[in-house]
Symmetry: C2
Subunit: 290 residues, 2 copies
């Protein structure tokens, strides 16, 4: 048996960064009858993974990573969870497997987030692994279509959804961000490297300082995959924090691309939306009405 020949009961290797999603993905995959082999990235992965008995590896242990996955009989690999900062491999004393791959990894670190992760996938594939999306082993975490929580969006909200969606699409084509906020028929904030929660904090500030005027809950956060984005590399996600930050910005709701955005801590996220009076809505293709 070679490393790349999957056994029928071969576990999927789940390489886990930070946040709550890795544990949720592991759990949803197990619930769907899939065997999992958890690998925790040192300094990033949460303790909530402990019950999956993960192997813990640092950035300098790329050689050991591949050996471990091969020994465990894994062929399929999932990458999930956040990495709080771009790792600086030049400051890490790596194992031989890391050093051998270093030129390619360093090259991958130049360019947008998307190209970085797509290059990482290429490195795994060169080793004989098949990188699959977290949504393929845990589809129950994905946003669906239509009303997810709260009310149906009204005409103003649909108009703002369309505008923000258009902005995210334009930016996504340039590998920039996955989210934007429109309010009152105008895009007021666009996500760059700061992330969605920080962008929402900015929207709250814009309303506080009067640069954006609106009465009551108004405006929509749209989060979607970049056009042509490889969902194996970077699946957009929201959670209770996103809802809290959107509520603090006074938004009317959040619109997610159906089938392309994870909802972390689903019960808590939906409860937060209902509690704050925000809608959560899934859209596919064009947004009609408004």
């Amino acid at each position: 048996m070679t490393a790349s020949a999957p056994r029928s009961d071969a576990p999927v290797a789940v390489i886990c960064g930070g946040g709550v999603l890795p544990a949720e993905v592991l759990e949803a995959a197990q619930a769907a009858g899939r065997k999992v082999f958890a690998i925790a990235i040192k300094g990033e992965a949460s303790e909530a993974l402990d019950r999956f008995r993960p192997v813990s590896l640092g950035w300098g242990q790329i050689g050991k990573l591949f050996d471990t996955m091969k020994k465990a009989g894994c062929r399929d690999v999932v990458l999930i969870g956040g990495v709080s900062r771009r790792p600086d491999f030049r400051s890490v004393a790596g194992d031989l497997g890391t050093l051998r791959r270093l030129p390619r990894i360093v090259a991958a670190l130049k360019g947008g987030d998307d190209s970085l992760l797509v290059k990482v996938i290429g490195i795994f594939e060169d080793e004989g692994f098949r990188v699959i999306g977290a949504h393929e082993i845990a589809p129950s975490l994905l946003a669906g279509s239509g009303v997810i929580a709260g009310a149906q969006p009204d005409g103003d909200a649909l108009r703002d959804m369309r505008l923000a969606r258009q902005a995210v699409e334009a930016l996504g084509r340039l590998d920039i961000g996955q989210a934007a906020v429109a309010l009152g028929g105008r895009v007021i904030a666009v996500e760059g490297a700061e992330g969605t929660d920080a962008m929402l904090g900015r929207c709250a500030e814009l309303r506080r300082n009067g640069r954006v005027n609106a009465k009551g809950r108004a405006g929509v956060l749209v989060k979607r995959a970049k056009p042509g984005q490889d969902l194996r590399a970077d699946l957009p996600a929201i959670g209770p924090n996103t809802v809290e930050a959107a509520a603090a910005a006074g938004l009317a709701g959040i619109a997610l691309e159906a089938g392309c955005v994870f909802i972390a801590e689903r019960e808590a996220t939906l409860a937060a939306a209902r509690g704050k009076g925000l809608f959560l809505h899934g859209f596919e293709g064009e947004i009609d009405g408004g």
Copy 2:
């Protein structure tokens, strides 16, 4: 003589919002031999205008504004300077001329900044005025082409300039913002309603918290007009604050669209760039090299 028939020595009406630019435009226009008639927007215009003996008018005095300009024999009108918040005409006790035009003004306040100001221009034109750009009466304030201050941008800077310029172009088509920052071959921040200085503050924060890694001065702020933007309505501008904020974000330099961006307080702005070791560069059309 009708109000719309210009006398050969007719003054140009310069309607002044906040900031230092209105006084600079008035001075540059006078230096170029043009007669000016300054109108200060109450609560926005700076005291630096006093030496131009402005007429001071509030948001509720649109009727008086038009009467005053006609009596002064103005046909050409320039709009210049910032408005710190979207005026809420509904809360202003207006004169009859304001009330008559209110439905149109309120309609103008919906939609992006660009469409707002373009509609304002339409209101002036309906009254028989000709709205011209501040750059037409004060071209000496515009960014030129090539090196404006500091060194020639290197290959990395040219690559980042190209990327940020592309992002601003995509956003500008959607009437969103006029500026973006790229660093290390990646667009890290895009301007929405928060303005350029706030966006630069965000870039400084991204570097402080390690979400963006770079050694030494790196990255470029690009500021340009939106494609098809009516420069009479909203001319992009930078000043010493922009340079200070770019320096605080650790950027290598600032690139401006030649002939389409004002440099306020030119001496201070160029001196700040030289002092901080940033380049100021003007580009036309495509950015080559890098």
